[in-house]
Amino acid sequence: MFDDHEIISTIEMVKNENLDVRAVTLGVNLFDCISHDLPVFKKNIRKKILTHAENLVTTCDAVGDKYGIQVVNKRISISPIALVGACFSSDQMVEIAQELNDIARQVHIDFIGGFSALVEKGIAPGDQALIDALPQALAQTQRVCASVNVATTRAGINMDAVLAMARAIKKAAALTSDADGLACAKLCVFCNIPQDMPFMAGAYLGVGVADAVINVGVSGPGVVKRAIERNLEGQPNLNLGDIAEIIKRTACKVTRVGELIGREVAQNLAIQFGVVDLSLAPTPTVGDSIGEIFQALGLTTIGVPGSTAALAMLNDAVKKGGAFASSHVGGLSGAFIPVSEDLNIAHAAANGFLSIEKLEAMTAVCSVGLDMVPIPGEITEECLAGIIADEMAIGMINSKTTATRLIPVPGKRAGETVYFGGLLGEAKIMTVPNSDLCDPFVKYGGQIPAPIHSMKN
């Protein structure tokens, strides 16, 4: 039996605070599909993915319906194509991307992730072919997501890969200039990429993971925001320690919802349950925003002084609440601050409260990085590589995941509006100071060595 408060709060979370399960992502291992013959390889991966994913969408919808909690996105992550397709050329890699796009369409999922390479300590031929294929592969497909891990705390930063990725991003943007460089919204550059992340665009299935696995990404920024507001309305004298406790408890509830639904989907599909990624992920909808949480915490907007401290507290409280709720937490687990995907953050950037430098500082304490940041298309590849290298350095030194998803919008300057549509949202292009510099630093290449604290053994 439930008391009034329990019934009302549960209904409110779903009805008015946008509580949902943001992503159920089916991971599929493709290593047993390997062939040197491209048609055979394509046939193998199609068969393998369809076998596991045939009922993914209907199962997610049925479970979501049973609990009255929508599973918003159903997705697939696969083994890194640079590994399972290592023998193919870049042209053949593009064909593989098209095949994956078609498979995704056939099983009615919006994104398939794993067009990926892991190059933190060097670039093998398969990795090179994949990186070379990225611009065409992303321009010619709609549902394929790509990621390249160029750094880890253990290996350091592969600066050759950083520069190669800057070039790939510029080319991908140019090939989709009619859509504001949309291809780049499906491409992440990572440091310390997790093997079990359910969120796109960086999801892939790691090599040490089961043959098929269900990972769940929960959400709930609206629920956290309302919990803070509700408690402050009732008790205006709460201090930040008290508020952190409220966030922690709320994150715990949200995580339990995700695990309940993820486990049932996994059970119904007879697939192993992997992890809950308890990230707070926004959408471009009022009331479903990380930015609004900063305002609930008493800041004018995200980006003003105090924002990094607020984000650090939020990120930590979310992790603590999630860790209490589930023993199988993975992925990124924290708070996302993607600029165009969060209406409130996009406004803060457009109105001059949030600069790219402040955004970078904030990524030192949250779970991703410079995410969905539209920047001027004329930025030099050296400057773009420099921004990526800076972000990788934050991840490497702090033993955490960082990433960039930067969109150099062709033909547009700072302050102009870009529209990516759907969950990817819209934003004004952010100013990048000194974006015309061609400093040779990133062109020296080689490896920035791993930090001293990588030698843990």
Partner: protein, 184 residues
């Protein structure tokens, strides 16, 4: 003598439980289970007791009424029909249906008719008050036991259609989601 169920009704005030249980104790009855609720200041209590072997239902009823009814309470006594089934075994799954919207006559009747037509059992029904005077804040909550033979697609479809006809917001959610969020 088999177990009996005693229902006590009356305006709520201090001493009701004391008066009833003292009377039962003096009659030599063993109190096995009890539940009570207060609805708009009206007390309703249910007591399942095992009377002494040599007591008749009529004797028990008369004595109990003599000891409680002068204080304004109404007492009913019935023999418990023992089905032999364990009461804590619930077959099937429990869904929580909530309807939100303006109060109107016949609301519960209309929904419960549909639920009964599909042979589903309402195991708990309550009006939930959000507070305030908003007529749209009326929430009725039904806990419905769904046995495996019930076609949930048809039942839930009929309930949703009825809610739409009546202009109500309806949610039908498996009980586990309320457990996951609230019972930590």
């Amino acid at each position: 003598m088999n177990k009996v169920i005693i229902t006590v009704l009356g305006k709520d005030r201090p001493g009701i439980i004391s008066r009833v249980t003292t009377a039962l104790y003096e009659l030599g009855c063993n109190l096995e289970n009890v539940n009570q609720m207060i609805l708009q200041q009206q007390f309703a209590g249910f007591f399942i007791v095992e009377p002494p072997a040599n007591t008749t239902l009529a004797d028990l009823a008369q004595t109990l009424k003599e000891k409680t009814e002068p204080s304004g309470l109404t007492v009913h006594i019935n023999q418990v029909q023992d089905t032999g089934a364990r009461e804590d075994v619930i077959k099937g799954e429990i869904f929580l249906m909530t309807t939100i919207g303006p109060d109107q006559k016949g609301l519960v009747a209309r929904f419960s008719q549909i639920i009964a037509r599909y042979h589903a059992n309402i195991i708990n029904l309550k009006a939930v008050f959000k507070g305030g005077n908003d007529p749209n804040a009326n929430i009725m909550s039904y806990q419905i036991q769904i046995t495996p033979d019930i076609d949930t697609g048809q039942l839930f479809g009929a309930l949703r259609q009825k809610a739409e006809d009546l202009g109500l917001d309806i949610r039908i959610q498996h009980k586990n989601i309320f457990d996951a969020i609230n019972k930590i």
